[in-house]
Amino acid sequence: MSGDPTLERVARGNALALCATGAWTAHFAPLLERMVADAEKLAGTRANIFIDVSQVSKLDTFGAWLIERLRRSLTQGSVEAQIAGLSVNYSSLVDEVRRVKATPVVETNPVTITGMLDQVGRSMVNIGGTLVSLIDMLGAVLAATGRVLVHPRSFRLTSTVHHLEQVCWRAVPIIVLITFLIGCIISQQGIFHFRKFGADIFVVDMLGVLVLREIGVLLVAIMVAGRSGSAYTAELGSMKMREEIDALRTMGFDPIEVLILPRMLALVIALPVLAFLGAMAALYGGGLVAWLYGGVDPDAFLLRLRDAISIHHFTVGLVKAPVMAAVIGIVACVEGLAVQGSAESLGQHTTASVVKGIFFVIVMDGVFAIFFASVGM
């Protein structure tokens, strides 16, 4: 390799030569930059400065540009500073960088009150836009369902079964495990606190009502939003990025019918099934803890459970499940189709899919609570 670069000032007659030597390459860029910045201060101190590069052993774009930068800053008015001793090998490189124009300065907007208000306004409009696009997707899915009902042959059974396996069958172990543990915890906490005033047995009432009406379906819906909603968004988003969805459209397929309807249907079937399994696992876990920790034996538990709950509690829970599934599915598909070209955008929309999915699930749960309270269920 060549030696370290230097830039020496040598007086030649009435002119000042800046003699560059050594390797002017990217490797030495920080050093070169300092030397050039030093030499730039000579600009205007005297006339007739030129740059002698005959001793340069190696030159690349970094070196060539720094020499060019020096030449430009030494140029005063109409008198151009000259570069002397340029070897034939490097002249084309120097010519190349000579054509580069000065860098346009990138302006960043300063933070102002108007700017902040602007941001707030935009966010509000975005929220409105989100609601509109959700309703739009709901309409599109319903329209596609209608078309499929009229032409049952266009229904994608294989795809639906595939998604059913992904979101339902493969989710069973984790959902059952988590709801089982939640059931155990509710039961343990209930017994622990109720025991203080001798109301141990009421833990069965609490467990039954809570699990069947609320926790079972809500918890499972949140897990499904995190597990399958995010997967839907990521799948559709990456398909959008690689123009696969455009390709489908140009072949005369409706992406809603081919991609979204099977996914939605799979989710709408899966969530009630998972909610039911989850509720059973939670009851089982709660019963187990009530027996081992609270001394409520299984027969007493079942007897009490039969009195405490009615079929209404069970129906209320399961009626909510398909609606929540539809909400999760629609949010996930809208976010998936909103992905732009970049990996960052895919990440943002997947996050948004899960966050919005869970938010709407909880909102729906509240709406249902009001509704069932007013119809007396």
């Binding site: 930059e33 084309s92 190349e96």
Partner: protein, 257 residues
């Protein structure tokens, strides 16, 4: 086989690469001379990209030896390897630009990582690189998703050249470009090779590129190099695939025979 070349920039010896039970490269030997543009051709699926990726170290090999810049890549520690990686640039087939960074940030990414230079110099070098690959300065603030296919290739080349490497790997650089754009690209590679003293390892299917840009051509078939030499050697070869390739309809159109 090809005669031994003194002091090659890439020396590949007895490389075998296997995916499952499919042997893609089978005892392959290849030398690349310093300062040349090597065109690398072969039927689709013959393993051209696999060889490129094996040399770069993205695909593990079963056996064999690869030396780049005279360094045996299997015997390096991570510092030495980084040193080698700093001296080569790679243009991937699809560009592989970082989609969440602007063009300017994409080109500055390796510079920022390896060199401790001011933002001003980085910006200026970025503009110089953009001008070199024939792009307007306005492109700098765009995101990769806002670029056309040809622009992506150019930006990817600018990024590959960001650190002024001695060796660049180009994986089908002209595929997907219009003939004028492809011609410009060949011209660009030629110019850069002359000005920067680059060695270029170019996987290509573009006959024009082979005729106008490449100094030497290597042909891959059945997991081996079946021929290597100048374009004249290729045309004189009796190998059936080569005959078809260099004397087919499209080749005649290029050479005007």
């Amino acid at each position: 086989m090809a005669p031994e070349i003194a002091n090659p920039i890439i020396r590949v010896r007895d490389i075998t690469v296997q995916f499952g039970s499919t042997r893609v490269l089978d005892g392959l030997n290849l030398d690349v001379r310093r300062g040349e543009i090597l065109g690398f051709v072969g039927p689709s699926g013959a393993g051209k990209s696999v060889l490129t990726r094996t040399i770069i170290g993205l695909v593990p090999k079963v056996s064999g030896r690869i030396e780049v810049f005279g360094v045996d890549l299997d015997a390096t520690d991570s510092d030495e390897r980084r040193g080698v990686e700093r001296r080569w640039g790679i243009l991937f087939q699809q560009g592989a630009l970082f989609s969440s960074l602007t063009v300017r940030q994409n080109i500055q990414f390796p510079v920022r990582e390896y060199l401790n230079v001011s933002q001003r110099l980085m910006d200026e070098i970025t503009m110089a690189k953009l001008a070199m690959v024939g792009l307007r300065p306005e492109v700098a603030e765009r995101f990769p998703s806002e670029l056309s296919g040809g622009m992506i290739k150019r930006v990817a080349l600018a990024r590959a050249l960001a650190l002024d490497p001695e060796l660049v790997f180009l994986d089908e650089p002209t595929s997907g470009l219009d003939p004028i754009g492809a011609g410009d690209f060949d011209e660009l590679v030629r110019t850069l090779q002359r000005t920067l003293g680059l060695t270029v390892f170019m996987v290509t299917h573009d006959l024009d590129s082979l005729y106008t840009a490449c100094d030497r051509i290597a042909v891959l078939g059945n997991g081996k190099i079946i021929a290597a030499g100048s374009i004249a050697d290729m045309q004189a070869s009796q190998h059936p695939w080569l005959r078809q390739y260099f004397h087919g309809k499209r080749a005649r159109a290029v050479t005007g025979q």
